[in-house]
Symmetry: C2
Subunit: 248 residues, 2 copies
Amino acid sequence: MAVKYSRNHEVAYYECDVNQTMTFPAMIGVAIKTSEEQSDALNRSAEFIHRFGLTWVITNYHFQIQRLPKVGEKIQITTQAMEYNKYFCYRNFWFHDEEGNELLMIESVFVLMDIENRKMASVPEEIIAPFESEKIKRIKRFKAIPKISAGKSLPYRVRFYDIDSNQHVNNAMYFNWMIDVLGFDFLTTHVPYEVNIRFDKEVEYGNEVMSHFEIVTDNGIESRHEIRIGEQLYCEANILWQTKELEK
Amino acid sequence: MAVKYSRNHEVAYYECDVNQTMTFPAMIGVAIKTSEEQSDALNRSAEFIHRFGLTWVITNYHFQIQRLPKVGEKIQITTQAMEYNKYFCYRNFWFHDEEGNELLMIESVFVLMDIENRKMASVPEEIIAPFESEKIKRIKRFKAIPKISAGKSLPYRVRFYDIDSNQHVNNAMYFNWMIDVLGFDFLTTHVPYEVNIRFDKEVEYGNEVMSHFEIVTDNGIESRHEIRIGEQLYCEANILWQTKELEK
């Protein structure tokens, strides 16, 4: 049974949007901070990983949201390294309210990248052992992300503050570009309940990305997203929404 | 003697830029959260103020920085409502490190705005009394902010996440636009030690602002900033910098 780690967090006003609920970048921020704290506690800090010439890269998130955390709310974030195979590490996050109700769950995929050649590296036992996650053979598949057939797009320049203290464009930023294109009216009348996102390639400082999107209403309300520079795909996602009146 | 209020904060990786130090939006975020907590503790929450048909607006910040807070560092933020006159409330913030050394100080000016007519309102005793700040007659003047003579500029669109749960463009965002124009090379070789900023007019969602700037090196290193839409000025600032080698 893998080791769980929890921390408490009070949702600040600056972590919330006009809906009074936490933004995706803020949720990812506190989630990743929780996993960093666990890694530090197990002596597997980013610095330790760097000694192997490696660094963690996140390739996927899958959110299942019952209710978004609200401004002022005290929440608990729990994380657990679930399973790993030769190349992929699967980590879950759970957000709970003060009464212990689950607010949301995030499944994620982490890989180790060789800092020199920027290629994916196999997972050394010495790095992964303290998390006591289960070694598996198979590769877990996340839901397919549907392509955009005919979308609109807006340009976004990567800003200085989009690069965090880990020296990379924080992948929480992709959410900023994907959410923004949907516009005020949509975003204040709809609530997300499922998100599937894949990071394909790393955007760099100074890049101008295009945030492409399409809203499909064949079967519920779905927004589809692609972050591209020219034809090159950097990130793709889809988000399932319900209207606010129907909110659980 | 006015009432002081303090809170502790651990600086998260997502609050820091590539220099491993806290961004201006993050510093303003935790400062304002501290003053909101004090107001709540004294039963003078935003909701209480709204009952008077009023809302707080910040018009000025003046930062004096000895050292920027670092990633992972445990800091303490203290605030105190210092003085007020008919229209202006003067509030200070101090950031200290774990050893009690002052990292930075922010002087600020708050005014009350009538929510209906969007005009400045005089400060009711009932709102201000619990803070036990000193009533003064004079208007405290902040340092003049020099105008730009011949600058460059970049455009920024106000994004959905730039509006916070207080329903306004968070004034911390202006820093995002002002800092970004200075570029990676400047920002990784210089450290700010004084900032003077004035908010003249409120930017709205959907606006595209121009972030004008000029670097003047007559007497030390100074960046001058103006956020404008066309000829209309929304925000002006100047920042004094030292090169990283000379950092205190």
